[in-house]
């Protein structure tokens, strides 16, 4: 009896140690990846690196056009995904008039979230670039990234709207406010931090995605900055990809590739951290 007790205690101990080790392994790998990239790339970083045009077939100089292009794509995609996403979420949570339709839309949202990013690229290519004849452009890339980000915005907005207590709505309605007034003056403002979380996460995703912009917006090298929404752009993730895989200077420009990766990681991490911080604060505020 005692030996069986001892045996199961030993098994418990071993299992818990294994679980602990596996969990820390992931943490260690994360630190290793980020640390390694920073160690290899930080020598490339300078004010010139982020503010100047590339020089000598991109073997020297800065990555300013790629940073600018990524910002254009972030803003463009946000203009598509934020209004549509928020209104969709408002419809799904605040109007339950047609439960079946709401259910079907929810299934649609979760399926859209599962569509591989390269398939969004194909979609953007065939619809925006070829069929609507926008060409490889900021416009086509923004629209593609915009629809890709719809589920991100819809889900986090929905989550935020649902955490607003029903009593707020009831109080507002009983004071004679209309449904529309209740939604836009009471519910949405109270859910705002949660909605902003979704916005930040979607901006981070727009900055980091490569496959959807490969055939819709990105160019290998643009000698001039884009001058309209129909221009091709350089973008940070695509820049890393082409510098690391194509051309004749792959090895000589390694430090520039690491440097670009650092800039991209910093940008995406900053956006995500703001988003997660807002969510953390928001949840805490609701609890307490």
């Amino acid at each position: 009896m005692l030996s069986q007790q001892a045996k199961s205690d030993a098994i418990e101990k071993a299992a818990f140690s294994l679980i602990r080790i596996m969990s820390y392994l992931i943490l260690a790998f994360l630190i290793f990846i980020i640390g390694y990239i920073i160690a290899k790339g930080y020598s490339a970083l300078s004010w010139e690196f982020i503010s100047e045009m590339p020089k000598d077939e991109m073997t020297r100089g800065g990555i300013f056009p790629a940073i600018l292009g990524t910002f254009y794509l972030m803003i463009g995609s946000a203009l598509v995904s934020i209004p549509i996403g928020i209104i969709t979420a408002v419809y799904l949570t605040e109007y339950a008039g047609m439960p079946l339709l709401v259910k079907i839309i929810r299934v649609g949202v979760s399926n859209l979230a599962g569509v591989p990013s390269v398939v969004f690229g194909l979609f953007g290519l065939s619809l925006f670039v070829v069929f609507l004849d926008f060409g490889t452009s900021i416009l086509a890339g923004s629209l593609t990234l915009g629809v890709l980000n719809l589920p991100v915005i819809i889900r986090s907005t929905e989550e935020a709207l649902m955490t607003v207590p029903r009593t707020y709505r009831e109080a507002s309605l009983s004071l004679g406010a209309t449904r529309l007034q209740t939604i836009f003056r009471i519910v949405v403002p109270n859910a705002l931090p949660g909605i902003l979380t979704g916005v930040m996460l979607s901006l981070g995703r727009a900055a980091g995605e490569t496959a959807p912009i490969m055939f819709t917006a990105a160019s290998y090298y643009a000698p001039e900055l884009p001058n309209s929404i129909f221009s091709e752009v350089m973008a940070l993730p695509y820049h890393i990809y082409v510098m690391a895989t194509a051309g004749t200077h792959i090895l000589e420009t390694r430090h520039l590739q690491y440097g670009t990766a650092i800039i991209l990681i910093l940008l995406v991490l900053a956006l995500n951290s703001i988003g997660l911080f807002l969510r953390y604060r928001f949840r805490k505020q609701l609890k307490g």
């Binding site: 418990e12 419809y91 979230a113 398939v119 194909l122 070829v130 990681i265």
Partner: protein, 301 residues
């Protein structure tokens, strides 16, 4: 005076109705996008059947899209996707479950506050950065360590993809494990089971449908991931016979060849047809995951 007020109310009622309709139309946009994706994928992909039969396309072992007599057999690409996905899951699922159990049952609040954001950070790292790391750091390491021709191969890709799949699987599994009612655990303790026995025999089985949802969504992400396999998998369109063979999964094939495929040509249609395959696979996986998670929610009530 009264009339005026009444008219004001009817006016705002009309506005309410109009806005509800407007919101509904915007709300339909996701479905419209989904339909458009299908329409354009099938519209551009199905014409490949003018050049090859469906069985030759799916089961053909030769992918030579640009030769004089082009061959469009995607079997090696499908085999590559399946192999990479299976291997990545074998690595990612145990790791993710360990993390989920650790976060839900064992970790102190302090450790949780570090580990949870760390997992979210992993989820946010752009795939091109992971691919870059696999290419310039992991590949040379594997090549030296195992004395290979190239470190850009199936194993490397699976390793990187497993890392990317961990956040999805771990966080959804953790939710499932955390929502197992305390009373179940208390019952188990009362019968004399220790913590591990309770976790392994009570908590995990009770959370199983949620864990399945997590695994399926994670696998679905792995199948659809593009940049990592494009940069790391090696790119050879051959059915692999070792985990150290270079391979060319479906996603990377589209990304690698789209730029050189003339719009409207056979090659272009073939790449869209590959997109259809990917779309159907991930669609089915998502439906299954949706179904399981609804079932699981029902159980909770």
């Amino acid at each position: 005076m009264k009339d005026k007020k009444k008219r004001g109310i009817t006016k705002s009622l009309i506005a309410e109705k109009l806005f509800e309709k407007f919101f509904m139309i915007i709300g339909l946009s996701c479905l419209i996008v989904l339909l458009l994706i299908m329409l354009f994928l099938f519209g551009e992909g199905v014409p490949i059947l003018r050049d090859v039969t469906l069985s030759d396309f799916l089961l053909g072992a030769q992918w030579y899209p640009t030769s004089v007599n082009p061959r469009f057999g995607v079997l090696p690409l499908i085999a590559a996707s399946v192999a990479v996905t299976l291997l990545a899951s074998v690595i990612a699922v145990p790791l993710s479950l360990a993390i989920a159990v650790y976060l839900a049952e064992l970790a102190s609040p302090r450790v949780r506050e570090i580990l949870k954001p760390a997992i979210e950070i992993i989820a946010s790292i752009p795939s091109v950065v992971i691919g870059f790391f696999g290419m310039v750091v992991v590949a040379p390491f594997l090549q030296r360590q195992f004395d290979l021709d190239t470190g850009l191969n199936l194993f490397n890709a699976a390793l990187m993809l497993a890392f990317m799949a961990v956040p999805t699987i771990a966080s959804i599994s953790e939710d499932a494990i955390s929502s197992v009612p305390v009373s179940l655990k208390e019952g188990s303790y009362a019968l004399g089971a220790n913590r591990w026995q309770t976790i392994f025999r009570i908590v995990i089985p009770a959370a199983l449908s949620g864990i399945w949802t997590a695994v399926i969504l994670g696998i679905s992400r792995v199948i659809g991931e593009t940049m990592v396999v494009l940069m790391v998998a090696g790119g050879a369109a051959v059915v692999p016979d070792s985990i150290f063979d270079p391979v060319r999964p479906l996603t990377s094939n589209i990304a690698a060849e789209m730029a050189e495929a003339p719009v409207g040509g056979s090659h272009y249609h073939a790449l869209f047809a590959i997109g259809i395959i990917l779309f159907i696979i991930t669609f089915v996986f998502n439906i299954i995951a949706d179904y399981l998670s609804n079932k699981y929610r029902f159980k909770e009530n």
